[in-house]
Each structure stands twice: as structure tokens, then as C-alpha cells.
Amino acid sequence: MEATVPGHADTHAHGHHGHPPSGLMRWVTTTNHKDIGTMYLWFSFAMFLVGGMMALTIRSELFQPGLQILEPERFNQMTTLHGLIMVFGAIMPAFVGFANWMIPMQIGAADMAFGRMNNWSFWLLPPAATLLVTSLFVPGGAAAAGWTLYAPLSVQQGMGMDMTIFAVHILGMSSIMGSINIITTILNLRAPGMNLMKMPLFVWTWLITAFLIIAVMPVLAGAVTMILTDRHFGTSFFNAAGGGDPVLFQHVFWFFGHPEVYIVVIPGFGVVSQVVSAFSRKPLFGYASMVYATASIAVLSFFVWAHHMYTVGMPVGGQLYFMYATMLIAIPTGVKVFNWIATMWRGSLSFETPMLFSLGFIFLFTMGGFSGLVLAMAPVDVQMQDTYYVVAHFHYTMVAGALFSAFSATYYWLPKWTGHMYNEKLGKVHFWLSLIFFNMTFFVQHFLGLAGMPRRIPDYALQFTEFNQISTIGAFGFGLSQLLFLYNIITCIKGGPKAPAKPWDGAEGLEWDLPSPAPYHSWETQPTVK
């Protein structure tokens, strides 16, 4: 793709607008997509650390059988908040942060379409996070029904559940507003010549993800609102004593929950597509296929929700339908993996940190996909439901999928954001430690699950001890490795070798036509894409 850059107006854009308010007010009042993107990314990293501390608390308790450091109720609160914070507080905001930073720069737009709504989308997050975290300290403690908030547990628990419901509402509003902004920006603010099929894959995947968010977030809001009215306003949606049905909650939740899995991972597909192409120095193999496959995965993700609930009681026809549908959806996902490998085939590969994390993503996400296929089979799932096999499976897709692609994106675009190169050696150490400790933590959990260890329990039978100890040591190693990432980012922001406008020689896209660091206002005059 080739862009005509009109003069150097962008680099001097500061002068035309004066300086933004300084200090705290800059961040409170900003409508600049880069500022808001930065806030999203720091917020998500902070939440990643909070959720990570909860994970380490869980793993500490599970280091040996018996109860050591947590009461069972507290343990359940930890697993619940860990899940909610990681999904809604860490991963989703991280990708919205990347979207804010990169989509306007990649499509040649001056900013996001709705600057003030963008600011509001972000500033809704801290109150929601505060509600979640402080719910630990109210009478009865935090929600302890699991991140899925299953009824009837969620109908029965204390005020921590109300705080969680409110937090989920706020987070959902934030996501919906962010999505409206992203869709409008992509559809209306593209530079002349940047037609839809010329857009970078990251932009495409976000466009599709944003539609998914708008489609399913209201479903989650509806589900938790029904819990709220069951709790306080005398309804009986999920209360069997009043004629309701707790299984209804599971259907409504997973109608949101399965597309949510794709919401979390599809922007990661976009990142990996761009990074693999850049470091293979080849155009992406099957660009159109990737776009079509992503769109079809998004559509098909609405038709497979009940594979999460084979064991709650379902007619055999229902089990067969959801089993077939789930297995078929693996085809377009498999094609993506094929495309990434074909992109690398006979490419001129180099293995800088972004590429390493993308390769780690492909390797581990494929494993997560395979264990997903295992779980898709109803007769097998009946054995595996609610065991550590499931925990291993979804951490392979969420951590190795979403988180590794987020790391890849951060290292890939960090020079563009900061104007400095990060420490490559440290980045590689971060990758290898993350890869090793990740597998140490989660690979053994497959065996724990196969051997019958249930999830969401603070205590377990003696024969599970060794694998749990390995997993706990791995978890601490993984957690501590992330401090290297933090250190690398902070040193990169503070200084380091100056980054050229395009630090990766194989990278494609408009963002690399801007200087590094990208000016505060970029593409005020739109480029023309040829």
C-alpha cells in the first residue's frame, strides 16, 4: 500500500492547536485518541496485575491440599473476580486501547469519530473496577458465583453481587460506546482510496468485533438485570420456587458468552496477521480469506452457545446440533492458522519480540483450539465439564491467545508510540519466560482435569498434589515475568535508542508513514491511498 503524505503538516500539528491542558486535567478532559488509548492500556495493565494477584492467591491456596490461606468463600470470590477482572477489565480494555491508538492512524483519520464519547467510554471503567475490587470488603464479600454468575447462586448472595451487577452494566455501556465509535470511525473516516478491502487486518477484525459487542453486550446486561430484579424486585426469572428456571440464565449468559470469546480473541487475530506478515516480509497469505473467515466466525459464533452447558439437561438432538455446529466452526478458525503458516512459508523471517509472541500465539492458540474440539464432543464433555481440563483449555485460548497477541501488539507498536526502541533482549527474555511458565502453569492442568480434579475448589484429593505444585510454581514464574514487561515499557517510554518512522522493514500500513513518536495530532490532512 502506498500513501501520499501531504507535506509535513502532521509533524507540526501541535502548533496549530496550542497545547492540551497539562497535568491531571489533560487526562480527565482529553478527547485525543492517543491519550485515551494510553489510558486504556495503562488501566488494563493495572487490572492485569490485580487479576494476576488474585490468580496467584488462588494458586497459592492450591499449592497443597487442605485449606491454608483462604476460607472457601473467599476462594470462590477470588476465582470469580479473577475471571471478571481479566475478561472485562484487562483483555477487552487492552484491545480497545490498541484500537484507539492504531485505527485512526491505520486508516488515515485525524481522530476517532466521537471524541467526547471516547473519553466517557474510558472514564466509566475506573468506577466499574472500583466496584468490583471494593466488593471484596463489603459484608458477605464479593460475588462468588464464578465469572459466569450462574443462578441460583447469583440470586442468593450478598451485596457484593449487586456491586458486580452494577459493574457489569457500566463495563457493558463502556464497551458498547467504544464499539459505536470504532464502527463509525472505520466506516466514515477512512482516507481517500482506503477502501474496505485495503484496510489492515487489525482494522477489519476490530470492525467485526465491534458489531459482535453491540450485538451481545445488551444480552449480558439483560441477564444481570434479570438477576437484579430476581434479587430485589420480586421477579422469578431464575428462581424455581417462583416458577422460574435457573437453566434459562445459562442459555442467556452463554448466548452472550460464546460470542464474547470471539470478542476477546478476534482483534488478536488481526494483530497476529499483521505481525506475521511484517516479520515474514511477505503480504498476508489469503487476505480476503482472512476477512471472510473472521466475518463468518463472528456470524457462526451465535449458533453454538449451548456447548458450554451439555450437562445441564438437554435433549439428545440439542446435544448433537451444538456438537456438530461447534466442530464445523473450527474449520474457518483452522483456515486462519493455515493462512498464518502459509504467510511464513518461504518468507524472509526474523524473530524480534513481536514475532515471537505471535508465533507463541499461533502455537498455543492452536493447542487451545484442539482441546476445544475435544470439549465440543458432548459425550467427552460430560466427563470433562467443570474439571481443570476446561480451565486449561480456556487459558490456552485467553492467555496464549488474547494476552500473547496483546504483548505482540505492544512490542510491535511501542516504537511508534514512544519514539524509542524497547530493549530487544529483555523482550525476548520476557517471551521465553512467559512461554515456559505459561505451559508449566496450564499444560499440567489438562492432566489434572483428565484425572478428575474439579475447578473452583480450594481443596483437593492428595493424588493431585504434584501437578498442582508444578502449576503454582509456573504461575508465580509467569506473574513475575510480567514485571520484565513493565520494566521494558517504562524504560522505553523514558528513553532508549531513537526509533525510526518504520522500525520494522517488512511492516505495511499508514501508521509507519508517520514519524515516531506519532505526533499528538496525526493525519489532520488525510493521506491519499493508492
Binding site: 477502501n195 449458533f303 435433549p315 446440533y321 456438530y324 455446529a325 464445523l328 474457518p332
Partner: protein, 75 residues
């Protein structure tokens, strides 16, 4: 989407169906893609995709019903 305005001719129904089928499979031949992006409008893709999704569900339900009927169980 102005850049798609100068469309020579609208894609045929069959072309849309073929595109959607390959999209569900996840593979697309380059020459087919190049001809289809010229002719197929985003509205056709979205409507076709939704109909394709519905068909996907109905075909699977049909298959499941046949399997269950052959095994003497009710759905």
C-alpha cells in the same frame, strides 16, 4: 462507501451464494475474490451472510433429525 459506487454490474445471486459458502469455509481463490469485490455490495454480503447462517442452522437441525429418527429416539 463511495469507492464502491462505480459498480459495473451487480453480482448475480449465484455469485453471492458462492462467496458466502467460501467465506464459511474460510478460503477464497484470489481471482474469484478480485471479481467478487468489484461486483458484490456490502449489503449483499451482510444479507447473504445472515441467510447463510440461518441455512447452516436449519441444515444441521435437519441432519440431526434424520440421525435421531434412524435411532428411534425423539428429538
Amino acid at each position: 462507501m463511495k469507492e464502491q459506487a462505480p459498480v459495473a454490474k451487480q453480482a448475480s445471486f449465484l455469485a453471492v451464494v458462492t462467496t458466502i459458502f467460501w467465506a464459511f469455509f474460510g478460503v477464497r481463490k484470489r481471482s474469484d475474490h478480485e471479481s467478487s469485490t468489484v461486483n458484490i455490495t456490502p449489503v449483499q454480503v451482510v444479507v447473504g451472510g445472515l441467510i447463510g447462517g440461518a441455512l447452516f442452522v436449519f441444515i444441521l437441525i435437519f441432519v440431526v433429525r434424520i440421525i435421531i429418527a434412524n435411532h428411534g429416539t425423539t428429538i
